[in-house]
Amino acid sequence: MQGKVWKFGDNIDTDLIIAARYLNTSEPSELAKHVMEDADPQFVSKMGEGDIIVAGENFGCGSSREHAPIALKAAGINAVIAPTFARIFYRNAFNMGLPIFELKEAAEINEGDVVRIDMDAGEIINVTQAKTYKFTPIPEFMQELVNAGGLIEFAKNEIKAGA
């Protein structure tokens, strides 16, 4: 995947990603209309399908609302890159199928850069700056879940095996 970068700072919390005033629904298309609104009210009108968010430390801190990765994914954000992610957001993003990548050097990427992510090689390539980075591999156990097609697919396989 390849996309244009939007930069955000440290500790982007889930209220900034999707404010609670919009949590009277879990409809992805509704949530997408308000993604990152309190961080940048113009974000939805500026961003494009396939863009990538690059942020600082502890992205997704705060609430457990899965509406946050849902909103990002439904808005068309291709991936989120950050040095670290908050624990619940990290798990939710995997469960929702929003690709996220831990990259220590995330700060070197600038807004507007074009970044390509090569999942197989474990690389993030900054096309604009002609720099290549290795992202932190995901934990082995989580790779099993990804291979199964996500947590619910994993559960379905168990239901089938038990039946």
Binding site: L16, D38, G62, S63, I88, R91
Partner: protein
Amino acid sequence: MGQTITEKIFSEHVGKEVHAGEIVRVNIDMIIGNDITTPISIRAFEESGAEKLARPDNFSIVMDHYIPAKDIASANQAKISREFAYKHDLKYFFDEKDMGIEHALLPEKGLVIPGDVIIGADSHTCTHGALGAFSTGMGSTDLAFGMITGGNWFKVPETIKVELTGMPGEHIYGKDIILELIRILGVDGALYKALEFTGDAIQHLGMDDRFSMCNMAIEAGAKSGIIAVDNITEAYLIEREEVNGGLRAKPKIHYSDEDANYCQVITIDVENLSPVIAYPFLPSNGKPVEQAVEDDLKIDQVMIGSCTNGRIEDLRIAAEIMKDKRVAKHTRMIVTPATQKILMQAQHEGLIDILIEAGAVVSNPTCGACLGGYMGILGDGERCVATTNRNFVGRMGARTSEIYLANSAVAAASAIAGKIVDPRDI
């Protein structure tokens, strides 16, 4: 090798000794959903082809965020949980008839037991660690996995030991201790870790203080907060047993070994602590109340409530300060008791009269104002002192509004003064 209380809880659930860093899959003793997170879980549950809950007696839905419905969308969203609850004849479904904020209601009902492994699709699920349980927040899909299989996977967390020493001074509460700890750790200082509160100061802290401390473990990024069972916990459980005609299960009491492995030890001298005020826009921006007094911070709204500080002790503290006083002319005050039981208890004790006579508005239990949902939204540039847990940008309303997190005494005293004041000066 010695074990922490958290490692022991997991070991007991797995059936063999486990240590921090190991991935385990265990059955969950209580899975908690609410009206805004459970609909996503229900959708995933139904899409999986599962027909019934794997462990129906270990599952609960608490309607607390947007109940009574704030608008048509919330009403429709609530229907999803209600229909599921009726279809599956849920034993633990708490709606308007028996309402409360989940992290106050479930312990009150005797449904949280020492030694439990608990997950909830709400980040403040870590509250329940105050009863010597492992309890953590997860997302809706993880909740669905628990509904389908009865369990989930965990990485057994490393533990940060938090040693609390000394006797808390006047108007120092669990809230001040946890805000001080978050100030020290930062909002990601405990990422993936358990916070274990120990030390001689614990014996001076009642259950309401302990709930409030474990509640905000997440604000330091922690996976869980935990306090071992002692005579105060036991007295609380006996009361819950009497009131509810029994507990959900028999307590399994664990204590950390003396040679348990901690990744970090933090000591806080409670004796010399001042009330802590967390300035906008992070819970880690704690400053002593003296600083806030010097900064002369006029306030538009005061909010006492939430899963952090909406318990009976909070209402007692507020009423004691507000008796025969009046909320300042340009300030308004909202009190949201965390459960109907707390509200009734406060009524019996005459606290509600005191608060209303002082000019506060008392609402039904709800998460509403704390997360900027309804029942106390802040307008542009408004400043609020809240006993809640988060002061992020826009958390309680307008992007330009400001939230100062504090204990209930600071909140009540500030409501009267119309600006942030030190309750010890009154």
